[in-house]
Amino acid sequence: MKKTFSVNLGNRVFSIDDDAYIRLKEYLDRIESYFSDEKEREDIISDIELRVSELFTERMGLNKQVITLRDVEEVIAIMGDPKEISGTEGQAGGNQSHDSHQRRTGPRRIYRDPDDRMIGGVCGGLAAYLGLDPVIVRILFILFLIFGIGLLVYIILWIVVPEARTTAQKLEMRGDTVNVSNIGNFVKEEFDNVKKSFSRKKK
């Protein structure tokens, strides 16, 4: 059983599986990031969406009412790689901007990091907020501790700073925008981590 979304693509409504939606959204976002001119980008994206909706319609019928991940992959293969679509002209600007452009655009918030904790997750959270390695933050804290005020500061932060409980909060902690595709990425990362630690334990 899968959850589905309902999307409007080129003025047609489709039911689409959640994994297929995430893949398609990420694909369209990537194409978008290759075009810097706003007017041009809107036209191109709307034309491409129109064509994608045509290709989806060809696949639909009485026995098939939901767009699956496989449909999306097939359509992406027909439409082509975003880099290819943009041609070489757009490549110079597009390539560099596009990774940093897509993520790391949301406002950062400070949280305690429950996944990266020694005691209360204060240092882990601070490190995520500042974009530093948690080890560095911990060493600095221990230095503070030696000079006396560290313990008090730690306890105050532990009380004051909320713990990042939800996925959205964890993304905010890292400064990532909270949207469906980032949540998708994040959940996938978490899943991979669990898988890795599980297979390690098995060995």
Binding site: G10, N11, R12, I31, F35, K39, E40, D43, I44, D47, I48, L50, R51, S53, E54, T57, A77, I78, M79, G80, D81, P82, E84, I85, S86, G87, G90
Partner: protein, 108 residues
């Protein structure tokens, strides 16, 4: 030497010319143009067409209008403008010159 790249560049060079040429024979919507380009193997992935159409439109070579369709939502039909027709004439001249030049070199 990477011949695939050379071939891709050649195709790309004539693609805009071919789009104008297709439209000179009658107005068409994106999927018509795509089918013709795919038949002649000028285009590998469909997505490459759309930025070209948009740029030609913004350069004043093409215009478009929406037309009702029996099989779904309205379609965007592209047509050549006067500028586009002139541009096409120019390209036709230089295309013929190019063919002659390449032929004369190959047959020497």
């Amino acid at each position: 030497m990477d011949f695939e790249n050379v071939k891709a560049q050649m195709r790309k060079g004539v693609l805009e010319f071919c789009i104008l040429s297709i439209l000179s024979k009658g107005d068409a919507y994106a999927s018509d143009i795509l089918n013709k380009l795919k038949e002649s193997e000028l285009i590998v992935v469909e997505g490459t067409l759309y930025p070209l159409l948009t740029r030609q439109k913004n350069a004043g070579l093409l215009s478009y209008r929406w037309e009702e369709s029996t099989q779904g939502p309205p379609r965007k039909y592209y047509a050549l403008t006067d500028n586009g027709r002139e541009g096409l004439k120019e390209l036709e001249v230089s295309w013929k010159a190019l063919i002659e030049a390449v032929d004369s070199i190959m047959n020497k």
